[in-house]
């Protein structure tokens, strides 16, 4: 019935397709599409599914390397970690749904990324979440924070995959568009990776998981448009998660994947049954025939349009060899999952779907998957940069009482301890978490080997706002540095590129610059980008978010016993700094908190120095010369030192002497890159000095651990002298006080 409605320009516009795009559809098909077909084009040609704006830029990223088993283009990236094992990982956004409905939006984001990983044949072993919220004082921020965190907790905890880390920033640029980027890491046998391919004529298409409902229809299109006043009305386009079914699906999938008659599998994510079936057939160069009457559904009366476009969660499409259908059904039925054979693979490259014996879809698969108009979007350097780029420090007063400033920085929600958040996540289940949340990187053991993997996710949006090229480079550098501080060598990158409306040339310029920065640094550091996701249109009523190219890095350590953490271990250790400090305050947390501005240049990044510092740090950890290593970044030297004082087994004080080579506030709170704070026993000093000199890395001894107080002198003048316990109180409880506050 829906198929018989004739297509008007209004219907085309409601589907988010331009007149040019519709003309292209008519031309490619040589006829008018029916409504179901139009719906499929709408979803598949949306920015979310087709990457039409971003693809030309993404092609420039380095995606190959000796360890890469699977690069971008599949459900997740795969990197060889030796011993016949592979790390499977990806990060993906669920920004738009999470702003409309934070609990379900975040929950289904976690569910979706886990399915991307276990469809590859991997058991998920860890989750990270990179979250961006608006100004803490904005009326919606606390509600969104609590909703998102509870959504992540409810889903991840129930499925039994530990959430081991992540990062959280607060900035007014996210007031109208929060970001929820979920990362999942899984482990698989390197020779048992499953791909989303529907090959073999006559092979069966198996639908498995939850029944199809009317939720999430046009979720992909919703995520491909800006928000306006009517955004709240889009709540029904947000899917509802069922983590219990996900857990059953996970176990059932891993069980069936032991069979050699499983041909391919794909999650029914954005654009549901449409994207999974079209993409699987396209990768294999095959066709497909579907019987929509066989699709399990929640309610009577659902039509072909709804069945093809529903984004109901926890559903998978399997292709199994002809003749093994009943064995497959048995396994899924053991787990009490809905399962049905809904079609067959054909060889003519055409997608056909029948409803009650009538053909309602007949589309050439390649045309739908690859035919979207490539957008060569114009770019233009944003006008704001010439004004925002200027920063004259000479008129700024240098503060005297830096202890008070330090306390306020430690209590600012962006820098404060995230204990309030990660205590709501099960971060221990499956007994792999060697380093719990709260250090630079989480460390997971690789079961049945001596290895471990370190994970970190990072992106400072203020740097990206001031200079998207450098901002993206710093995101990569910092995520790698975090992993290195844990004692691991970075082996793969996944990225989630969050930007505003690409139809605005200034946004497109930000995007282009960020991708260029990301690519340049990954190439320089020789780390492949193996998977990723792009989220555009993060914009409300013309206000775009800051460019946020979120980077997650996976690092490998051969000997897990040599992992390192950021906290000072005991009194009487020496404290040193690898790298050097410049007078850089642009984009810093200090600048934002005390001058309420974000301007100037972000910290500069020299890739060679960055690499040298990281290599030296790794060498020192592997030689067991140092007791702690902590990435020196947001909040600057003073904050980083205080964090190391507070995050050991027991809090410990420190006495630091600095040389006053620049403004005191820049020295204490500037965020110069390529620096790592280390601590070590006195007798290791000579060897560290020798190795640093050999590596050409500046190294300075700053002081020692001990006592109850955290003390910093510059040229023998005291700038900070605070009790560690008092600092700890400000830092540790700030976020829980905020989250639990009754407005």
């Amino acid at each position: 019935m829906t198929a018989s409605i004739s297509i008007t320009p209004e219907i085309v516009a409601e589907h988010g397709l331009s007149p040019e795009e519709y003309a292209r559809i008519q031309e490619l098909l040589n006829r008018d599409p029916n409504l179901v077909e139009l719906g499929i084009f709408s979803a598949m040609w949306s920015e979310h599914c087709s990457y039409k704006s971003s693809r030309p830029h993404l092609k420039t990223l380095p995606t190959e390397g000796p360890r890469v088993i699977q690069g971008p283009g599949e459900n997740a990236g795969v990197v060889d970690i030796g011993d016949g094992l592979a790390a499977v990982f990806k990060i993906e956004s669920h920004n738009h749904p999470s702003f409309i409905e934070p609990h379900q939006g975040a929950a289904t984001g976690v569910g979706g990324i886990m399915r991307d990983v276990f469809t590859m044949g991997a058991r998920p072993i860890a989750l990270l979440d990179s979250l961006r919220f608006g100004d803490p004082e904005h009326e919606k921020t606390r509600y969104l924070l609590n909703g998102v965190v509870k959504g992540i907790a409810d889903y991840g905890n129930c499925v039994g995959v530990p959430t081991v880390g992540g990062d959280i920033y607060f900035d007014a640029c996210y007031n109208g568009n929060i970001l929820v980027n979920a990362f999942c890491l899984g482990l698989a046998k390197a020779d048992r990776i499953f791909l989303g391919k529907a090959s073999g004529v006559g092979n069966a298409l198996l639908y498995v998981g939850s029944k199809t409902g009317r939720d999430g229809i046009h979720g992909a299109s919703m995520a491909s448009a800006e928000f306006d006043d009517a955004t709240e009305e889009k709540r029904p386009t947000v899917q509802v998660g069922d983590p219990f079914t996900e857990k059953l699906l996970l176990e059932a999938c891993l069980e069936i994947m032991k069979k050699d008659w499983v041909v391919g599998v794909q999650d029914m994510g954005a654009a549901g049954l449409s994207s999974s079936s079209f993409e699987m057939a396209e990768r294999a160069g095959m066709g497909m025939e579907l019987d929509l009457d066989a699709v399990p559904r929640r309610e009577e009366g659902m039509n072909a349009y709804e069945l093809m476009l529903s984004e109901s969660q926890e559903r998978m499409l399997f292709v199994v060899e002809k003749g093994h259908e009943s064995e497959a059904l048995d396994i899924f039925e053991k787990w009490d999952l809905d399962v049905a054979v809904i079609g067959r693979v054909t060889d003519d490259g055409i997608f056909r779907a029948n409803e009650k014996g009538v053909e309602v879809v007949n589309l050439p698969i390649e045309t739908v998957v690859t035919g979207a108009l490539k957008c060569d979007r114009p770019t233009q350097k944003p006008a704001y940069l010439s004004e925002a780029g200027a920063l004259d420090l000479s008129s700024r007063e240098i503060p005297g009482n830096c202890g008070e400033i330090l306390k306020q920085l430690l209590a600012s929600p962006t820098l404060a301890s995230k204990q309030f958040v990660y205590e709501q996540y099960d971060h221990m289940v499956r007994l792999n978490t060697l380093v719990l949340p709260g250090s630079d990187a989480a460390v997971l053991r690789v079961p049945e080997t001596d290895k471990a993997l370190a994970l970190s996710v990072d992106c400072n949006p203020r740097y990206g706002y001031l200079d998207p090229y450098t901002g993206a480079q710093i995101a990569v550098a910092e995520a790698c540095r975090n992993v290195v501080c844990a004692g691991a060598e970075p082996v793969g990158v996944t990225n989630c590129l969050n930007f505003g409306n690409p139809e605005n040339p200034e946004i497109m310029w930000q995007f282009q610059e960020a991708v260029r920065g990301l690519g340049d640094l990954c190439r320089f550091m020789d780390i492949p980008v193996v998977s990723g996701n792009v989220s555009l249109y993060n914009e409300t009523k013309g206000e775009a978010i800051y460019p946020t190219p979120t980077i997650a890095v996976v690092g490998l350590m051969e000997d897990r016993s040599l992992h390192c953490t950021q906290g000072f271990k005991q009194e009487g250790h020496r404290i040193g700094l690898l790298g050097s400090t410049r007078e850089e305050l642009g984009g810093s947390e200090y600048q934002k908190l005390f001058w309420n501005e974000c301007r100037g240049k972000p910290p500069q990044l020299d890739p060679q120095i960055e690499l040298d510092v990281q290599r030296l740090c790794l060498d020192l950890i592997r030689k067991q010369l140092i007791q702690s290593a902590h990435d020196c970044s947001e909040g600057g030297l003073a904050v980083v030192l205080a964090e190391s004082c507070m995050t050991g087994q027991e809090p410990v004080g420190a006495a630091i002497e600095l040389n006053g080579s620049m403004r005191a506030d820049a020295l204490l709170f500037g965020e110069s890159q390529s620096r790592i704070m280390i601590s070590f026993a006195e007798d290791a000093l000579t060897e560290i000095e020798t190795l640093a000199e050999k590596a050409g890395v500046p190294f300075s001894v700053l002081g020692s651990t001990g006592g109850q107080n955290f003390q910093i002198k510059i040229d023998r003048k005291e700038f900070i002298n605070e009790s560690v316990l008092i600092l700890e109180d400000a830092w540790k409880h700030s976020l829980s006080r905020y989250g639990n506050r009754v407005a």
Binding site: N157, C158, F244, K247, D336, Y422, M428, V429, L431
Partner: protein
């Protein structure tokens, strides 16, 4: 020695318990599928943590109707040792094998963290290797762990020595701050009157692998193993 781990749909600490019993304590360890109806001659069985049936309705409320629970009840009534951890504790309470209820945490939030417990008695198969009054460091991981029961039952539990574990501070004291979830009388673990069934909210399997510095959780498993040896 032979032990079994019951797997409900949604159990997710089953692998962890299996790993500790099989690889750390070197026991013959079996999976027991929830649709099974017969329990073999196990020396003890464990109901692991997780979210059986998604915790839908109420944690444990649906799992108690799984076919295996009738056998677990028979097994317990004949004196078989049953340890319920977290969701396992919730299932034991729902099926009436243990007294009381487990409600939403007082703070209305899920809590995952390390904390300390005081062993109230070592006269049970689950704590026989501990000294009474000993403080163990074992993590919790739950959203519904606030133990509650009426005052008559509480009195009976105390009189019979059925309160086995209490949340405490590092020195064994029980100030308000040491109670993470608002549990009545700081109760973290209780046993039935015969002391052959115990439920505890904390997860001993999370601190029993020598890979970590803390192996306090081993005390619970060692106790079960030793008392099973003495029994057989």
């Amino acid at each position: 020695m032979k032990c079994g781990i019951v797997v409900f749909p949604g159990s997710n600490c089953d692998h962890d318990c299996y790993h500790i019993l099989k690889h750390v304590h070197q026991l013959e360890t079996h999976w027991i599928w929830h649709k099974d109806e017969v329990l073999d001659s196990f020396d003890f069985i464990v109901l692991p943590g997780g979210f059986s049936y998604g915790d839908y309705l109420r944690p444990g409320a649906i799992a108690r109707f799984s076919p295996i629970m009738k056998s677990v009840t028979d097994y317990a009534n004949k004196g078989g040792r049953v340890l319920g951890i977290c969701n396992g504790f919730q299932i034991l309470v729902e099926s009436g094998l243990l007294p009381g209820v487990l409600m939403d945490n007082a703070g209305q939030r899920f809590i995952c963290k390390d904390l300390t417990l005081r062993v109230e008695t070592n006269e049970t198969p689950f704590t026989s290797q501990c000294t009474t009054g000993t403080v163990l460091r074992i993590p919790i991981n739950h959203g519904q762990g606030r133990y509650f029961t009426d005052s008559d039952t509480l009195k009976r539990l105390k009189d019979n020595g059925q309160v086995i574990l209490r949340y405490c501070d590092a020195k064994g004291g029980t100030p308000e701050e040491a109670n993470p979830n608002g549990s009545l009388d700081h109760i973290a673990g209780v046993a039935n009157a015969a002391k052959n069934v115990m439920g505890m909210m904390p997860h001993p399997e999370r601190c029993a692998d020598p890979l970590w510095n803390n192996v306090d959780g081993q005390m619970i498993f060692k106790s079960l193993i030793e008392s099973s040896l003495a029994h057989s």
